[in-house]
């Protein structure tokens, strides 16, 4: 028997054309590989898509590919992830399920009065393998689910069993506290919540490949993202982390149809868990330390270092961080750098300057009794460092304007107010405060790669939140 395990594909995450096509290429390559290896089935453990309703051409592409897999006779079993699900709206996953291309394994047979949750198994006809699982959930609710899970029935089920899940397990965590992973691990759940004794635990949510076995839990696996689902994934790619999917095999042939009874499967049928590399780009990673340098020094250093890289056919990632001693971050023309690299045949350019700041514009936090007071004092204290030809943006006036703007922008949406109406109202208010009448902002914030700071807060969890908030707004709108 042979199956493939994928997760965190994040189709629709990439906004730039070149990256978008790589996102798809990798996905296609992985599935094509599964087809040519004639796997018995495929598991996709959440975040197949970057949002619950990705844009049309992403959907079209995915449907076409899954149809191919379907026609090859390979069932695909999935659970929702944290990105492609929504507590109160539908997901493209549901459409795929409707068409029969994929099969959802999170089946609750019964949610009894006392709150206990029983899960049903889905049986793969060809192999007799039994699958069940739970979707990705907001951290607070996740525990609630697992607290109430009826483990006994799951554990006593005979046969070869696979548990699909989407979430961070503490025991699978990294030793090194680096980058965004840490923020994600912060919400991790103890593995003791999972039912014991399954033969394989197919995980999603963590973007790096990990395979571990521990008492009661053999073969707990995250395949990681096959390409990238957060900005920092690309950086990891550049550092040479392996990307692809996981192929699992046993020697037991499936010729006889149903897999031999294997209540003690993990001793009678040792699994071979193998990582299959799916290549993507060649990378050039440039890291510039801007600490204690002036903006012009940083700029010329970038220039010099870039001369030494070979952009041709590669993806170039430029990471600039630190606090510059003088000058502004805008003194460095990142657009121009990007352009030059592209002219020299770089396939794509990613610039990460989220932790770049300047001492000249360092924000000093001030004190105050109320939040408003703190904000106003902070503005007043820091506005001196800000120069502008527009007098009303500077000094006390500027501080008050900033304060008003902050206040107006932090207004929550009204009950039953739809996202569109809310956006319009808030932007309108802001523009009125700034006394700018002409309205050319259409809420497109995709440029500058969302400004996601991948180094001090998880881009991913931000995404979750955003999604979630949008859902709340949508919900409000629908109700009204």
């Amino acid at each position: 028997m042979k199956f493939a395990h994928l997760a965190d594909i994040h189709l629709g995450f990439q906004k730039k054309e070149s990256l978008q096509s790589m996102e798809r290429k990798v996905f296609e390559a992985a599935l094509d590989d599964c087809i040519s290896r004639k796997v018995d089935f495929i598991l996709i453990c959440g975040d197949m898509f970057h949002s619950n309703i990705p844009n049309m051409n992403v959907q079209k592409f995915a449907f076409a590919k899954f149809r191919q897999v379907y026609e090859a006779g390979i069932p695909v079993y999935v659970v929702y992830g944290s990105h492609d699900s929504s507590p109160n709206s539908t997901s493209v996953i549901d459409l795929l399920v409707e068409t029969g291309y994929i099969i959802k394994v999170q089946k609750t047979s019964q949610t009894s009065e006392d709150g206990s949750i029983s899960l049903d198994f889905v049986t793969n006809k060809k192999t007799g393998v039994k699958l069940t699982g739970l979707p990705g959930l907001p951290a607070s609710r996740e525990i609630e689910y697992y607290e109430n899970l009826d483990r006994q029935s799951l554990e006593s089920e005979p046969g070869f069993k696979i548990f699909l899940f989407h979430g961070a397990l503490a025991e699978m965590g990294p030793a090194e506290a680096k980058g965004q992973d840490v923020a994600k691990w912060g919400d991790s759940m103890p593995i003791s919540y999972l039912p014991r004794g399954f033969d394989y635990y197919a995980g999603g949510h963590m973007h790096k490949y990990v395979h571990r076995s521990m008492d009661g839990y053999s073969n707990v696996v995250y395949p990681g993202t096959p390409f990238a689902g957060y900005p920092s994934d690309l950086e990891d790619n550049a550092r040479g982390i392996k990307r692809g999917y996981v192929l699992v095999e046993t020697d037991n042939s499936v010729a006889g149809g149903v897999y031999p009874d294997a209540s003690t499967a993990n001793t009678s049928a040792p699994l071979r868990v193998q990582f299959i590399d799916v290549p993507n780009y060649q990378y050039e990673l440039l890291k510039i330390d801007a600490n204690n340098k002036s903006s012009s020094m940083v700029y010329s250093e970038i220039d010099k270092r870039i001369d030494a890289v070979d952009p041709d056919g590669n993806m170039v990632i430029l990471k600039v961080n630190g606090t510059m001693s003088e000058g502004k971050t805008t003194d460095i023309d990142f657009d121009k750098i990007t352009e030059t690299l592209l002219q020299n045949n770089a396939i794509a350019v990613e610039i990460n300057r989220n932790s770049l700041s300047s001492a000249e514009y360092k924000i000093v936090e001030s004190k105050g009794e109320t939040n408003e007071e703190i904000a106003l004092n902070t503005f007043a204290e820091n506005i001196g460092g800000f120069k502008s030809p527009l007098g009303e943006l500077m000094g006390q006036k500027g501080a008050e304007l900033a304060q008003k703007l902050l206040q107006s922008l932090s207004m929550p949406s009204l009950q039953n107010e739809s996202l569109a109406v809310y956006t319009e109202r808030i932007t309108g208010d802001a523009l009125r405060i700034m006394r700018i009448d002409d309205d050319d902002s259409d809420g497109d914030d995709d440029s500058d790669s969302d400004g996601d700071d991948d180094s001090d807060n998880g881009g991913g969890s931000d995404g979750d939140d955003d999604n979630y908030k949008k859902e709340l707004w949508n919900k409000g709108g629908e109700k009204g």
Partner: protein
């Protein structure tokens, strides 16, 4: 206090009368038919004030001299077997003198809301011959600290429990350190469990680390995580009362507010977190007060630490530097390490092996022999995760029952240091006021704050916390059978002491000497405390309070029953 007769109304409240004595030791003649107890609280009414007094000693008194009693007793025992020797008005001839001391002077009808202090110290003697009555719940109204305090028990007059709650200001007591002292079996664990439960009940923002050496707080089983049998596979909802004792996990908010870590690998309760700590989290000062290293050994350790940083243990354990005759090979590492003698390194290694359970495997690779320290790439975030939880105001219970005492203490040190360091940083950045107060609960506290551990100027993180933790909102909740072995300077810093029964004079004296209130006359009082009875002395209570601690099972049972049927969740999709 007991009443032996059935005298009626008006007079019934009077229990005795002042007949002499001195300030702090007033003699009361006990009214016939009344049986006073040590610890009884009496009330002396003045015009605008009530004075509460407590009985701390009882003795016989008689109008006849001793020779007379001896003779009468002889007659009674030897001659008159019918017991016919009678006194004329025995109640007037023989009686009991109770010695009482003033506790507090309370303004009648005052309430804390008035702004004026309701209770003050008494500075005068009560008028001669004034009459005293037994205490009633009304008299204790002034203690009503609102619902925000930490409930510890109910006021007790002698062994009679009054329906008056004792609540302590939760944000203060923890940072000013709590000492819980008693001999085995007097209810320390029960008290701690009950206090933690009530921390969960209160809305206060408190983060607590519990080093649970007996694994008794979370599940309620002693050795709790290893609960056996088939019930393991089932969610907690199926385990009904009667099947198992109660623990913190039965609190309705436990899922959100209590985290439980254990090294026990098998048969764990669902939700148990794995207590696995990467060896890189261990720093030299985490051994302070746990492992004795000589000057030379310390030197070696610090050199390794400075050189290899978080890799110091690995390198110290595996780099081969042993060779005393100078014929060692000239590897760079060897060269740099050669100033330490082989024996010094070997002793350090042996100690680390013992405390951390590490050993050097074949092909000179570092191995972990126990289940708590990881030498590879796991457990690197555990300390951070635990500290995060404390910082979020959660209770983190570490089951350390499977660990050697030294190992437990090192683990405690790692977390305590991390917590204190973080909070020190918050103090500087000004974030501290938004952070919850924290406390570290540790059993058999003399292991870390005993005089022998802290001898000759040695210090460790617990002593540091005891001395200066309060500035940083980090406190110690020390549980101990022995208080006498804790240095006076530290005992005096434990500003709330909950004293349960103790039959050892020496221990009682240590507590009395360091109490926040004058307990110099309470030796007998403490000696006669029954299980679950306590005296709370604290800078945060108006007088040394006699309390009855509730039995944890009673506290938990109703709430837990309530909980079992309120969960209702749906799986979407």
């Amino acid at each position: 206090m007991m009443r032996r007769d059935n005298s009626t109304a008006a007079n019934t409240r009077i229990v005795g009368q002042v007949i002499g004595g001195e300030f702090g030791r007033v003699a009361i003649r006990q009214k016939a038919g009344i049986e006073m107890e040590i610890g009884d609280i009496l009330v002396l009414e003045e015009k605008d004030y009530n004075i509460l007094l407590m009985v701390f000693d009882l003795q016989y008194a008689s109008q006849m001299d001793d020779k007379m009693h001896e003779m009468i007793s002889g007659v009674s025992l030897e001659e008159d077997s019918s017991g016919n020797v009678q006194f004329y008005e025995p109640n007037l001839v023989n009686y009991v003198i109770a010695h009482v001391k003033p506790l507090v002077r309370v303004k009648k009808g005052g309430s804390p809301a008035d702004g004026e202090p309701v209770s003050t110290m008494t500075k005068t003697l009560p008028p001669f011959t004034s009459k005293l009555r037994s205490i009633e719940e009304e008299d204790l109204k002034f203690l009503d600290g609102g619902k925000d305090g930490l409930f510890v028990g109910r006021i007790r007059s002698g062994s009679e429990v009054k329906n008056v709650e004792v609540r302590l200001p939760i944000n203060k007591i923890f940072t000013h350190h709590v000492l819980i002292s008693a001999t085995t079996g007097r209810g320390k664990s029960n008290l701690v469990k009950s206090m933690l439960w009530h921390v969960l009940e209160s809305r206060a923002h408190v983060g607590i680390l519990v080093l649970d050496a007996h694994d008794e707080y979370y599940s309620g089983f002693v050795g709790g995580s290893s609960m056996g049998g088939s019930s393991m596979g089932v969610g907690r909802r199926d385990a009904g009362p009667g099947q198992r004792p109660y623990g913190l996990r039965d609190h309705p908010d436990a899922v959100r507010k209590v985290a439980y870590y254990s090294v026990a690998r098998d048969k764990r309760l669902p939700g148990t977190r794995t207590l696995l700590i990467n060896i890189q989290s261990v720093k030299p000062d985490h051994f302070d007060g746990v492992v004795d290293f000589s000057e030379a050994q310390r030197g070696a350790i610090h050199t390794y630490y400075n050189r290899y940083k978080e890799q110091w243990i690995r390198n110290l354990m595996t780099i081969n530097t042993t060779d005393t005759d100078g014929s060692r090979e000239e590897g760079t590492d060897d060269k740099r390490s050669k100033k330490f003698s082989a024996s010094t390194l070997n002793i350090i290694r042996r100690k680390l092996e013992m405390v951390l359970g590490l050993y050097n495997g074949p092909d000179n690779t570092l191995r972990a022999g126990n289940t708590i320290f990881d030498v590879d790439d796991r457990g690197g975030l555990t300390i951070r995760e635990i500290t995060d939880m404390i910082e979020r105001g959660q209770i983190v219970v570490l089951d350390t029952s499977h660990l050697h005492s030294e190992t437990e203490l090192v683990v405690g040190n790692i977390i305590a240091s991390e917590l204190l360091n973080r909070y020190k940083r918050y103090k500087i950045t000004g974030e501290l006021r938004h952070k919850p107060v924290t406390s570290i609960v540790i059993e058999e506290a003399p292991r870390v704050i005993g005089a022998d551990v802290l001898k000759s100027g040695n210090s460790n993180i617990y002593a540091t916390i005891a001395r200066e933790g309060r500035k940083f909102k980090v406190g110690l909740t020390a549980i101990t059978q022995l208080s006498s072995v804790i240095p006076r300077s530290i005992l005096a810093n434990m500003n709330t002491k909950i004293i349960l029964g103790n039959e050892l004079k020496q221990e009682r004296m240590a507590l009395i000497d360091s109490a926040s209130q004058d307990l110099s006359d309470d030796d007998k009082n403490i000696a006669s405390l029954n299980i679950g009875e306590a005296i709370i002395t604290s800078v945060f209570v108006p007088f040394a309070m006699p309390v009855k601690i509730p039995l944890f099972e009673d506290v938990a049972a109703s709430a837990a029953r309530h909980k079992r049927h309120t969960n209702s969740v749906r799986v979407f999709g």
